[in-house]
C-alpha cells in the first residue's frame, strides 16, 4: 500500500511502535532498587499465648506491633507529611575523602604516581567505598589537611570546594569535578566485577538539571566548563590565596592526554565496548544503531532532578 497523506491514528501508532528501539516485553525490567518486597506478616490464628509453652515457642510479633492490627504497626499509625523529607529517596550523597587521607594513600603507595586518579582508582584501593545502591554519587574531596597536602596529582572527583581546589593547584596538580550517573557509577566503582560479568561499558550521561550549573562552572573545575575559563579561574584563585600557579606546556599536554571525554567512564575506552579479560582484548559493536546508542550526537541527560 502506498503512503497516503492522512494516516489514521492506528497507523501512526503502528509506525511509532515499528520505529521504537528494540524493546520487547521480556526486555522491560525495573531499574536496580526500584521495588523492594515487603515482609509477610502472618497471623497464626491468634494462638501465641494460650499456655506458657505456646508463648515461649510461638513466633514473636513483628516490630512495632500494637495489639490487634497486624498491618498497622506503631510506625505506620501516624500520617506523614509529604513536605517533610518527601525527597529522602531522591537525595544524593557523596562519600567524603579528606586531603589528608588522600595524601596518606599516596604516601603509603596505594595510588600510582604520574597516572590520573579517578573514582575507579580510589575505589580499587578498597579503602574508599562508594555504593551507588545507597545513592552515593561519588567522592567529595574535603579540605581537611589542605595545609599539609603536597602531592602533584591529576585527580577527578565529584565534589570539591575552593580550599580543596586551591590546595591541589598549589601543589602543582590538577583537579576536575565530573558527574557519573548511577549506571555508569556501578561500572566505575568496581571495574573488575563489571568486566567479569561481561557487561558493555555504559555511556556516561550528562548531569541532571539541578547539577548542570555546578559542573559547567569553571570555578568548581567542572568537566563541562571550557578550558580557557578554567585557566582564568586558576589564576584568580592563585591571586586570592597568594601562591603561584604555572603549569609547563608539556605537563598541560600530558594532562590533556589523560582527560576523559564527557561520555567515557574509563579513559581510552569507548562506551559500548566489551572488555575481555581472558583474551586481553576490547571489542566494539559495528551495528550503527548500537553505535548511535552508545555515542549519541546529542548527549543524554540523567533523568533525575
Amino acid at each position: 500500500m502506498s503512503k497516503h497523506a492522512v494516516k489514521s491514528a492506528s497507523e501512526r501508532a503502528l509506525q511509532y511502535v515499528e520505529r521504537t528501539t528494540r524493546i520487547k516485553l521480556q526486555d522491560l525490567r525495573d531499574n536496580p532498587g526500584a521495588r523492594s518486597s515487603g515482609r509477610a506478616v502472618k497471623n497464626h490464628h491468634n494462638s501465641a499465648g494460650h499456655t506458657i509453652g505456646e508463648l515461649q515457642r510461638s513466633p514473636k510479633p513483628p516490630l512495632g506491633w500494637i495489639w490487634g492490627d497486624w498491618f498497622r504497626p506503631w510506625h505506620r499509625m501516624f500520617p506523614g507529611e509529604a513536605s517533610f523529607n518527601g525527597d529522602i529517596n531522591l537525595r544524593r550523597e557523596y562519600t567524603p575523602l579528606s586531603l589528608l587521607e588522600l595524601q596518606r594513600l599516596i604516601d603509603l603507595g596505594w595510588l600510582p604516581k604520574d597516572e590520573p586518579i579517578d573514582i575507579s582508582t580510589l575505589c580499587n584501593t578498597k579503602l574508599v567505598r562508594v555504593n551507588p545502591q545507597w545513592r552515593q554519587f561519588g567522592i567529595h574531596l574535603t579540605d581537611e589537611g589542605a595545609e599539609v597536602f603536597a602531592a602533584k596529582v591529576n585527580i577527578e572527583v565529584q565534589w570539591a570546594n575552593q580550599m580543596t581546589i586551591a590546595a591541589i593547584e598549589r601543589a602543582g596538580g590538577r583537579i576536575r569535578t565530573a558527574y557519573y550517573d548511577l549506571d555508569s557509577l556501578r561500572a566505575a566503582v568496581d571495574p573488575l566485577a563489571w568486566f567479569r560479568d561481561g557487561n558493555p561499558i555504559p555511556p556516561r550521561k550528562m548531569p541532571p538539571h539541578s547539577l548542570i550549573s555546578y559542573y559547567a562552572d569553571a570555578n568548581n573545575r567542572g568537566y563541562l566548563a571550557p578550558e580557557s575559563e578554567i585557566a582564568t579561574s586558576e589564576q584568580r584563585l592563585s591571586e586570592i590565596l597568594e601562591y603561584t600557579r604555572s603549569v609547563p606546556a608539556e605537563q598541560a599536554e600530558a594532562w590533556e592526554a589523560q582527560t576523559k571525554q564527557a561520555n567515557q567512564v574509563f579513559l581510552g575506552v569507548k562506551p559500548g565496548s566489551l572488555v575481555s579479560l581472558a583474551d586481553r582484548k576490547v571489542f566494539e559493536p559495528t551495528h550503527p544503531a548500537l553505535i548511535e546508542h552508545y555515542s549519541p550526537e546529542e548527549a543524554l541527560a540523567d533523568h533525575l532532578r
Binding site: R19, G198, F266, L274, T286
Partner: protein
C-alpha cells in the same frame, strides 16, 4: 571467568525498520499478510576488535596485596606518617603496626550513663592502643606522662596485659599517634 562472546552477542538483537515495504511495487492484495504483519528481521550486531591501549584496562584492575611499607629514606611524608625505627628502640615494650603499616589505634564509643534530664544516653569516647608486647605497664606509664604533659589534665587508662592493649579516656587519637611516632614504633 570471562563470559563467552556468543552469549553476550545474543543480547544484541535489532529490529530492522520496515519502511522499505512502503516503496515496494507489490500490490497489497497479492500478499495481504505481508501488509498486515510488520516485517521483523533480527540482526545480530557483529563486533570488531577495538584498538585500545591495554595499559588503560590494566590500570582499572585492583591490586591484590597491600603495598610494601615505604622506607624511612623515602620520607619525610607530608601526611605525617613515619616508618618504624629499624632496629626498634631500646624500650621494655614494643608497639607493632597494623598490616596497613599504620599505628594500631582504634576508636571506641561506649555507652556511659542515662542522663535523667534529657532521657538520653551519654557516651564516652575511648582510644585503644593495641599490639603492645613486653612490659605493657611501662608503656602505660610513658603514655600517661606524655599525654598529661601535652594536655595538662589527667587521663584515665585501662591496661589489659594479656591482650597487650591500653584504652585511654580523655585524649584524642592524634595525640596517641604522636606518642607512638615519638617513641619510634
Amino acid at each position: 571467568m570471562a563470559k563467552r562472546l556468543s552469549t553476550v552477542l545474543s543480547r544484541c538483537r535489532v529490529l530492522q525498520s520496515s519502511n522499505i515495504r512502503y516503496f515496494s511495487s507489490e500490490k497489497p492484495w497479492e500478499n495481504p499478510w505481508e501488509h498486515a504483519l510488520p516485517k521483523q528481521s533480527e540482526t545480530f550486531t557483529t563486533f570488531k576488535e577495538s584498538p585500545v591501549n591495554w595499559a588503560n584496562i590494566e590500570r582499572l584492575l585492583p591490586r591484590s596485596t597491600i603495598p610494601p611499607m615505604p622506607r624511612a629514606t623515602d620520607g619525610p611524608f607530608p601526611s605525617g606518617w613515619q616508618a618504624p625505627q629499624d632496629p626498634p628502640p631500646a624500650l621494655p615494650y614494643f608497639i607493632g603496626r597494623t598490616r596497613y603499616h599504620l599505628p594500631p589505634l582504634f576508636l571506641e564509643r561506649r555507652r556511659d550513663e542515662l542522663n535523667p534530664m534529657t532521657m538520653d544516653f551519654e557516651y564516652v569516647e575511648l582510644v585503644a592502643l593495641k599490639e603492645i608486647s613486653g612490659d605493657v605497664f611501662a608503656c602505660d606509664v610513658d603514655l600517661k606522662n606524655f599525654l598529661e604533659a601535652e594536655l595538662g589534665h589527667p587521663v584515665a587508662t585501662y591496661v589489659d596485659e594479656l591482650k597487650g592493649m591500653i584504652k585511654v579516656k580523655g585524649a584524642p587519637r592524634k595525640l596517641l599517634e604522636k606518642f607512638v611516632y615519638a617513641q619510634g614504633f
